[in-house]
């Protein structure tokens, strides 16, 4: 399957991708800004995400809370999200409401600052603190990603800290920070706008020009702070312990791997599926089914691009199986990846193909992937070649990846046990 699209760049630097898809009378409006938690400065962890919340608090022509109500009364859905490398904003609307989405997105890119108030910031700071409690502090194993990032990346690397950030840093965020962050990163030249769905590209482009064209080009975006170059591996084994109140111990295992976009990353992605996708995967078969040591197993590679990515695995212990024993068995099973069979790899590739095709049924997912490839690689057509890179991964690639990256010199073990009595 090939997803047709056209790409344009406005004079102010805004990249625009138009992907007509007449299958349903809907349109996805998807905007990626090339800024994420990796761009945060020391003492302001969590800020990119807090800022994302502020973008829904109104702009010069859009009153407070009106962004939501305009979309909802059009029968649309909307959200935004922040991750290490980027921040995205998106709405899916009935096709005849395309212009509404353009108006709202253009207004908060071009006219955000006049609507900013301390009261809104204080309110959203509390919302985000609750989000942190809900996701991290009041959930079993809730801080796993925060802890793994801190162990896989050195303090000087921008992935060392989590997207949600610390309560103290959220408290420290000021209106001046919001204004400065906006002026630094929220400019058309640091964004990609994708429209996907029932649309006429020529007319859509003309409307995009009308709404976005007079927003000025911003200053040059500063480089990502800190050290972005990393040694290929950790150079040792790192261990850390956490506690979980009542239930089952869990072992997390993380490896430093090449960044998303590199061909080695695709080997890692396929390896993660060989390891833990479905009942025929190595870890499920070995740990859950045959040795009955684990309640569940999970593995995935982070699609992140600065310096290095992570391959993360976890297994939850069955009652009666101690975390030390689980860890030992988990490492044994991971070691079998170095002898993965052709069938293991073929199975994983087919599953990834099928999943991608299923996801691309949705216009919002198509739009998001087009924006992603344009933002991260300056090449939206990678949406059409992504599966080729996955299919190009051979059994030998997976084995070589295991030998090179999954050894004792490149792993973090984070174990959650019950607190000592």
């Amino acid at each position: 399957m090939k997803i047709p699209f056209e790409q344009h760049t406005l004079e102010n630097g805004l990249r625009v991708i138009l992907a007509p898809d007449p299958a349903a009378p809907v349109v996805a409006v998807n905007l990626w800004y090339n800024v994420g938690s990796r761009n945060e400065r020391p003492g302001r962890t969590g800020f990119a995400h807090l800022f994302e919340h502020m973008m829904f608090q109104g702009s010069e022509h859009v009153p407070e809370a009106a962004h939501f109500s305009f979309i909802e009364k059009a029968g649309g859905s909307l959200n935004g999200s922040t991750w290490l490398d980027r921040t995205n904003y998106f709405e899916t609307l009935p096709a005849h409401y395309l212009e509404l989405g353009l108006w709202l997105e253009a207004d908060r890119l071009g006219w955000f600052l006049p609507a900013l108030t301390q009261e809104k910031l204080d309110n959203q700071r509390d919302v985000v603190k609750n989000e942190r409690l809900w996701r991290v502090d009041n959930q079993p194993y809730g801080d796993w990603d925060e802890r793994l990032q801190a162990l896989v990346y050195p303090e000087t690397h921008p992935y060392h800290h989590s997207v949600i950030g610390s309560m103290a840093d959220l408290d420290a965020a000021s209106l001046e920070d919001v204004e400065q962050f906006f002026r630094t990163y929220y400019a058309p030249n640091n964004a990609v706008l994708t429209l996907c769905g029932e649309l006429d590209p020529a007319r859509a482009l003309e409307r995009v020009r009308a709404w976005f064209g007079d927003i000025p080009h911003g200053p040059a975006v500063p480089p990502i702070p800190g050290t972005t170059e990393l040694p290929e591996t950790l150079g040792g084994e790192v261990r850390e312990r956490g506690t979980v109140a009542g239930a089952l111990p869990r072992v997390y295992l993380a490896y430093r791997i090449p960044p998303y976009g590199s061909q080695d990353f695709y080997a890692a992605a396929v390896a993660s599926q060989v390891l833990a996708w479905g009942k025929a995967s190595l870890l499920y078969r070995g740990l859950v089914k045959e040795r009955r040591a684990a309640q569940d197993v999970v593995a995935f590679a982070f699609p992140i691009v600065v310096g290095a990515s992570m391959l993360v695995l976890w297994a939850t212990a069955r009652p009666g199986v101690g975390s030390a024993r689980l860890e030992e068995l988990l490492l044994e099973e991971v070691a079998t990846l170095a002898a993965a069979s052709d069938a293991d790899v073929e199975r994983a590739v087919r599953l990834m193909e099928a999943r991608q095709l299923q996801e691309l049924q949705r216009v919002d997912e198509r739009a998001d992937q087009l924006s992603m490839h344009a933002t991260l690689f300056d090449d939206p057509d990678r949406i059409n070649t992504e599966l080729d890179r996955i299919r190009a991964v051979t059994t030998e690639d997976v084995r070589a990846f295991a030998r090179r990256f999954l050894g004792a010199d490149n792993r973090v073990l984070l174990t959650y046990d019950r607190p000592a009595a």
Binding site: P25, G75, R209, A354, Q361
Partner: protein
Amino acid sequence: MSKRRLTLHLTGAALTLFAGACAGGAGPRPSPPELPTDMPEHPPSPIALDRTMAPDPGPAPTFTAPAVRRFTLANELQVMVVEQHELPVVDVQLVVRAGAAADLPPAAGRAALMADLLDEGTRTMSALELADAVDFLGASLQVYPGWDATTVALHVLKPHLEAALLLLGQVATEPAFPAEEFQRKREQRLNAIRQELDDPRALANTAFAAVVYGDAHPYGAPLGGTASSVAALTLDGVRAFYRERFHPENATLVVAGDVMAAEITPLLERALGGWERAAAPATELPAAPRPAPTAIHIVDRPGAPQSELRVGLVGVPRTTEDYYALEVMNTVLGGAFTSRLNMRLREEKGWTYGAGSGFGYRLGPGPFQVATAVFTEVTDSTLTEIVRELRRIRDELVPEEELARARNYLALGYPRSFETTGGLAGNMAQLALYGLPADYHDRYVERILAVSAEDVWRVANAYLDPGRSAIVVAGDRARIEAGLRALRLGPVYVREPAAP
């Protein structure tokens, strides 16, 4: 890849929990036109653009649900086929009326365990052979337990449809229920229940259902059962449940995607034609208990930095005539981001990441509940606000603008639920499961748009009752109990979570 697992979204759980069936088509227009709907060839001058008002959308297209071809196989299995040729993919759902509502309390979790076991080996294939075969087709074959049905769901590329359907047929009609897999799966279920003791959301949900429905009604236990009920399940019991309920007359098969409705019958006969007919018993659901006067139940989580709140009572069956009015009412109250509960508790107060409400629609009267998680120190104040909103929607007519927003949210969003073959299949399965009329999807939009402020007022008074609601709070008792007692909403009880 796994970005969904990891990215932080602006809005989260409490809302998506309740993102119920929603809506499509021809709503009233929001604002007067400022822009011509047909643009000239040349770019307009900036003056033509009025940024101070939302642009006019132009006329809404009318929504017509995709056509369904219905027929029955020789063994009386009812089939619904919907063609959608955008991509070479097909979704199949076999919906069998064998749900958890039939698990009377001592057997809670039986349907879910049966669902776990269906794809753990068939007469001719081991669990691993089956998993391998499905994976090699690049297919997904899953079994989902529900309150009213167990669904065997297949997603597959068109070229592999036949092979995958044969596997689906084996799973549904020839499961082996191996003793070893039974032991393993039952233990996995027990472990999952044990894990929930650490999860404040699960603790609150489980306690809420138990308080509202008591211990004599299937809805009083989690769908997956309790530690004691699952421990008592036997392989014979699960097999018997399967034998009793898994018959073609008790099922509907939905096929949606890149197929030709006129040509698919022989294929379906090959996959499922050998399924033998037999009568299945009707599910007799005990009457739900009458809602008791409001009481607060604390599930103590010492040191918890946040309180998980649930407020609600016995709701209403899916088949109710009041469905449309209830959907609009709930959208105003807690079913959308701009609903009263979320705007008050999140956007005004900053006490939560999200607040919402919803009806659990089932064949029997499922629960209505408000759900949120808030800073520990505002636990009692949050309850005051929730009760205030429950009273307000009963006492005052919803203003027209707010009502129009809720109606349009449901109606104009409806076509989106037909976008994917999976969504299409799911929508059609609802028709069969709940006996909804054939024109249900076509008429949904007009019915939602016909809901008046008086309708909303009437159903709010009929189905919400702040004086007879169960309130469950999973949080730090030491820090919240005094404040909860001071509210004087009703007696305060401390609930022990079930032992692992």
